[in-house]
Subunit: 341 residues, 4 copies
């Protein structure tokens, strides 16, 4: 068989582990040929690719980033995108395409699949917001990086009377904020799903100081927003490419809390540190299993599907189902983390 | 309510996170009183305990070990153990006991539960071999530590022509060996579930060198054994306490492989490094959730049960079910890690 | 003998290691008594202290922060500060005071020493800007944290065409920026000692992209400033306590570079993550040696002095000499890091 | 100019950083050509080399191992080694050779230098036992890895009554044992420089338990030996290549201490984990500076010399001086670490 692989969308620790696993399973075990498209869908649309053999994937398992590059180009962006993709698949004699990507990528995958192309997707998002899988790789690494930073901050905040507001990733969901906040014992967590009341937040933090504590740590998902009318809020805007540029919830919160509490408050913005670097063992194992099972699905001819984790099993779910809803943090999970407002 | 907590058996990253979570949920949210027995069941049998309030658990979330201490004493070890335990529970006016421990502890918990005591267990084992839960806390940390060591070894083994044999924990099951070996891209993994053929192992490693590679990494679970008759093997024996003392599979393998391959081979023995120190974020979240749900089960009066992870949910399973079988690595999982013999 | 210890000024990994070392050397080896003043000079001025025995310092060697607390209060802040300090020293029968702190603290130490108090200082600053010692503890940890973040960012920046600007500590000197930038292979470093020309910086980064590279990493010390007139620049101001609040060089640079280069540029602000958490082995050894030698100096009656590292030796230098000049990065060191503008 | 580089002897974190730095300084700044010999002196003797340009060293700064490979071959091993080396240097038109290596390599470098070849050495050893430099790169990483393991072991040893004996690198000197033991607060350290008395060691550890402590950590340099006659001791022997194979001080100590103390004792053998993987920021900066200054020495024509760290400066010292004596741990340094016997 001949299989094409591509990585699309934002960076995510574990992408290389999937690529390596696909090549190992397909080339070594099945005797397949594998090619990798450069820069996501762009490579497919422009027929820009390289051959992926064992040497090409040697030493990449533990490396962050993606050896194939990525971009935000989607087939639907081009008027003739779908046709072009189909043309190149035919031209290259591909029996299957394995796109590895997030929500946008999976929607594009579904579009191509509906148009008749043989597609098996692999979900990818550090935000963990894809509904049909228990977890996606990259999430554990992001949570780990954020937790390590929070651990360090706790000792330093304690030395002085200080409030630290740590901005973590999560534009639409609060999974990283919830897990890193729980893991590090944050004193308050604010998330996109639940617009917060700044007075309530200030009260919660203030209570700690009144109880004699010397510091407080607030974790804020980058997409967290105040409840309308409770504080002035700059939502940010677009950068020169039209991409969202957040104005920085941590910076805004630090000014508001400082004023309300009469305590020094400082922002920490981890940014891309959370999505780069070597994946955790957890993410490497999950990514490796996704790659392995994607190749198996190709060989079984199960197209229009995507790998997913359910409990300890890797199962196949339909791409259609995968992109229907965003997985937000359910109320029960919030209740467990007592610091959530 | 009045709740007693104890930690029993081998050390495991996340024990303190469970204790802290029980106290936070019980004391803050339910207004309960919590006491902690010292050194596991020994504390219950000898009525040795301390009060656990918020201050007592402050700052322990990220700490390895257990603030309560542990021991291998089980109620069944004492002729009148069960009666004594019941007497102390009555004396102290306890409404529930939450023992946190591994197989032996859960068996003891079941024994006490069957005798009428109100017990809610929390499973604990870095070996991940308890059948009724997807994962236990501590496992992720152990795998992470082993993987980090393997990552380091890969670069150094590459500089010279060398075989490194890394002994990881796992007396009865190969979960840590499997996951760390997959995560780090080991070239061979040997596990207790599958006695290995030394010639086959040597051949597998030898092939790498013939293919021009300059090094090989073998991961060996400490309980891995050769197939009978394929090599001389010292099983170890008992230490002065009658505890198993393994003779060291890595050391024995390094001698055997050196002889067969004509390459330098060196053992690395990570030992207790894998079960100490700060838990990963994953383990802290899981441990915190187990503690939270154990308290909820107590308040619902669900005794004779144990917390378990199923997918993304924490559920309660019966203690009876929990200790029936050991969770060994299924064949499919071995197949995914292509390096397993 | 009776010795008082205190930690003053900003937090710094290794403070607890010094405290522990002083107690171990003084109490165990010399049979001294040691007390610790709470919250720096404030504790001395208000006679607020605790006894420090072996139990009090058990387990703190690897912990960030300071068990004694800190504050920015200096004896000179109070009209009768020096007299009060002298009174308390007499009242408590202290034979020596060991203040651990940065520039301000050492100046206060000198003031008290000049007024006749028996003082042996221990220098402390993550910024590494004290002139008479090769290195101060805390610096290695700060550089390590920043380097780890930069390592992660390099893989993620590579996946997309992106410029990342990482703001590290260093208000007056560029040591952390220089060392972390060198260690991680940053593509440009801007530091307080050398106001930068934004056009030159943009050109340097732009060259990389023209040479076909896909990303660039800029390290900016928080105190770095543009050369007057080359770009609009918000210097920040004071927070509600009159402390400097920087407006954020990384954020400002990201906007400027994005505009000039036509590439996405994003800021990362590590902030207090660099000064919290467990110290590196290097810092723990240095801090432990400083503590040990401070006690020896006390026993030799060498007052008005401070511990310092020279090569591999710990030597004593006069407090007067210590606070004379700030140690800025010399030109030769900049030349070695080819990325400095 | 045309410069040849090679790495020889055991692996050491920072080798790639030196190579990269040599190439950056020589190629970019001086317009030189650089070639790298494969597998140390072997590459020079067999004229096996590759061109090193900027692309060849891209991304290697943070990587362990050496992209050039290494071996233990020395020119003196071949009857006509020196002549062959001279012939190849002439043939390739090399203006200088920069060998990066330990004691054996520097001796070979001196031999070749004495025979008239233009040599500038860079010292390398994780053991830190080269006399004329304050520190060598690789040492800080080794100490860091050992300290992290010790940190983890402290929490787990505490949970049970247990003695852990951790074997760290150091065949002839105890630097790694001393620094990691000080950094982690070990309770006893044994080193090659001071044969230990097993009864004294057992007594020291026993005292801790008598004082109510629940565990003890002993750090043993792999070359540590008992004082003659105090215990039976297997020195090890040679492996199939005639290289030293130590019999394992930790394993032997664990059996001896268990018997004497009546406490469980377990060995941990970190082995090559200490010399592999990414270098610390400290080692990367030192290695980068060594490479930079080696190129400068070449351009100044200072041959027969070696880079060395003195305080904060990189200086050149003669190769002759460099290999005269081994740098053992001085008595004062032992005294500072109170746990040394």
């Amino acid at each position: 068989m001949r299989i094409g692989v591509l990585t699309s969308g934002g960076d995510c620790p574990g992408l290389n582990a999937v690529i390596r696993s696909v090549v190992h399973r397909a080339v070594v075990d099945h005797g397949d040929e594998v090619i990798g498209f450069r820069d996501g869908w762009k490579g497919l649309l422009e027929c820009d690719y390289l051959k992926l053999d064992l040497d090409a994937v040697s030493g990449i398992l533990a490396r962050g980033g993606t050896i194939l590059g990525s971009s935000r180009v989607q087939p639907a962006h081009l008027r003739d995108g779908v046709e072009r993709a189909k043309g190149h698949v035919a031209e290259l004699g591909l029996d299957a395409i394995i796109p590895i990507g997030g929500e946008g990528t999976l929607k594009a995958a579904r579009l191509l699949s509906d148009s008749g192309l043989p597609i098996v997707g692999v979900p990818k998002t550090i935000d963990n917001d894809i509904a049909v899988t228990d977890v996606t790789f990259g999430f554990d690494t992001a949570v780990g990086v954020a937790t390590e930073a929070l651990d360090r901050l706790k000792t330093t905040a304690e030395s002085h009377q200080r409030v630290l507001i740590v901005e973590v990733m999560g534009r639409h969901t609060g999974w990283i904020a919830l897990h890193s906040g729980m893991a590090a014992g944050a004193h308050a967590i604010v998330v996109p799903e639940r617009p917060f009341d700044i007075e309530e937040l200030a009260a919660k933090v203030g209570e700690r100081f009144e109880a004699g504590k010397r510091f407080a740590i607030v974790v804020a998902a980058e997409g967290a927003k105040p409840r309308a009318g409770t504080m002035e809020f700059d939502e940010g805007g677009k950068d020169i490419y039209g991409h969202e540029r957040f104005a920085g919830i941590a910076r805004q919160l630090s000014l508001e809390l400082e004023e309300r509490l009469g305590k020094e408050a400082r922002p920490v913005i981890l940014g891309h540190v959370q999505r780069g670097g070597t994946p955790t063992a957890y993410d490497r194992v999950l990514a490796t299993r996704f790659g392995w099972h994607a190749v198996e699905a190709v060989h079984r001819g199960e197209f229009g599907m995507m790998t997913a984790l359910r409990g300890t099993d890797i199962v196949m779910v339909s791409l259609a189902e995968a992109v229907e809803t965003l997985k937000t943090v359910p109320d029960e999970r919030y209740a467990e983390a007592e610091c959530v407002l």
